[in-house]
C-alpha cells in the first residue's frame, strides 16, 4: 500500500516541481536535491505553495524550511495526507 501511494505522490510532486520551475519532468527523480536542480529558497517557497494547492494540505513553515530535495517533499506530503485521512 505505502509503495503505491508513495509513487503516486512522487509523480504528482515531480509534475508540480517541473511545472513551477519550467524544467522537464523526465530530467530529475525523487532522489534529486534542490541544489542539483538549482532551486533557491524563493523557488522553494513557490514549490511549497504549488504543492499545497495540488494536495490541499498546509505545510508548516518549519517543515518547509527543512526541505532539501524532492524526497523530502514526497515524504512530507504523504505524512500530511495520512494525518488528514485519519483525522
Amino acid at each position: 500500500m505505502p509503495d503505491a501511494a508513495e509513487s503516486n505522490t512522487a509523480d504528482r510532486v515531480i509534475a508540480v516541481i517541473a511545472k513551477t520551475q519550467h524544467i522537464p519532468a523526465g530530467s530529475f527523480t525523487i532522489d534529486s536535491t534542490f541544489e542539483d536542480l538549482k532551486i533557491d529558497s524563493l523557488d522553494g517557497i513557490n514549490i511549497v505553495f504549488a504543492i499545497e494547492e495540488e494536495f490541499q494540505v498546509e505545510i508548516p513553515d518549519e517543515a518547509a524550511r527543512e526541505i532539501r530535495g524532492v524526497r523530502d517533499v514526497v515524504d512530507g506530503v504523504d505524512k500530511l495526507l495520512a494525518a488528514k485521512a485519519s483525522a
Binding site: 513551477t20 520551475q21 519550467h22 524563493l42 513557490n46 511549497v48 505553495f49 499545497e52 494547492e53
Partner: protein
Amino acid sequence: MTRRVAITGIGTVSALGLTRDAFWQSLSGGVTGLKPLSGYTFGAFKFKNGGEAVRFDPLQTLDPKEVSYLDRFAQMGLCAAIEAVKDSGITFTDTLREQSVIVTGSSLGGKYTEDEGYFNLYSEKHSRFNPMSIPKAMMNALTSRISMQFGIIGPAWTVSTACSSSNHAIGQAFEQVRSGQAELALAGGADAPFTQGVLRAWEALRVVSPTTCRPFTKDRDGLILGEGAAILVMEPMELARARGARVYCELAGFGMSSDAHHITQPSAKGSARAMRAALASANLDKEQIGYINAHGTGTAANDLTETSAINDVFGDHAKRLAVSSTKSMHGHTLGAAGAIEAAATALSMYHGTLPPTINFTEPGEGCDLDYVPNTARAIAVEAALSNSFAFGGLNAVLAFYRA
C-alpha cells in the same frame, strides 16, 4: 565636472511595436496603435480603446521561469533594456559594471499581480496569496532585474511620480553621467495598466476618451491609456565617440518643478518653470529649440495649459517651433510615457523627421501652435524638449541636442 551625455542605445515595447525599428516606422508613418482592448469581461466600460502591445511575448526574449517571476510591466521593461544594450554595442567590463547606474520609473508597478491577488482574496474568498506577489508587484522589480541581467553593481533605484516617472528617472540618470558620478546609465520606465482595477479607476476619473486620442484639437475628448516600456543607454559623449558608437543625439538638460496647485489640474506656471529649467540646464536659448514632444494627453485641461505654458516660455518663437503629441499614436503610457517619448524624440533628431499629432481635425480653442497635424515632417532640428507633467503637479522636462 560637467560632461556632454550621448544617447547611444534605445529599446522600446509599445502599441507601436516590439522593437525600436517598428516603433519608429509607426511614428514616422503616423500609424495608430490605439485599438479596441482585448479580454475585458466584467461588464461594459465607457471606453473601449487602448494602446496595447498586442503581440508582446516575453518568452521570445526571456526564459519561462523568469517570465513567471515578473509582472507584465517588468517583462516589457526588461525586454526593452536588453534591446537598448544590444543597440548600444556596449560591452560590460567589471569596472564598467561598477560605474553604471540604473534608474527606472513606474507609476503603477505590478498591478496584474495585485489585481489577481485581491480578486482571489476579496471575490473568491481565497486567502492564499501567490508567494511571488510582493517581488512581482514591487515598483523596483524592473531596476533590480536589469541589474541582474547585466551584472550592474553601481547605484540603482526607481522613481514614481505618476506620469512624469520616467522623465524624472532619465533626468536623474543623466545627471549622474553628466557630473562624472557614472560612466554609463540605463534609464527609462515601464507601466502596464490594462487590468480591470486600473481601467475602472481611470474610468472613474472621467478623463479617458470614449473615442480616440486627439491632442490639441477642438473635438478632443480625453486620453487613451497605453502600456509599454522604453530604456535608453546614456554615456559620456567623448567615450561614445571614442568607441565609435552610433550617437542618436545628446541629452543636454533636465528641468523639474512642482505646481503646488492641485492634485489633478495642471498649472501653466509649473509647466513653464520646468521647461525654463530644462533650457537653463542645457544652456540653450529658447530660439534653438525646433521641436517639443508635448505631454499632449488629449484632455481638455492639459492641452490648453501646455499650449499656454509653451507660449509663455517661448514668446514669439512659440509659433516657429513644431509641437507634437505622439500619445495620439501610442497612448498615454503613464510612468513609461517620458521614456517612450524620449525615445521618440531621440529617434526624431537622429532621422531628421518630426512625428505628427495624428487624429488631428481642427485646432482647439486657445491651441494656437504648429502641432504637426497628421503627417510627419522632414526637419532636422537643432534642439528639442520632451515634456512630462504628472497628476499632483510634478513636472519633468528633458532637453535634447543634435549629435
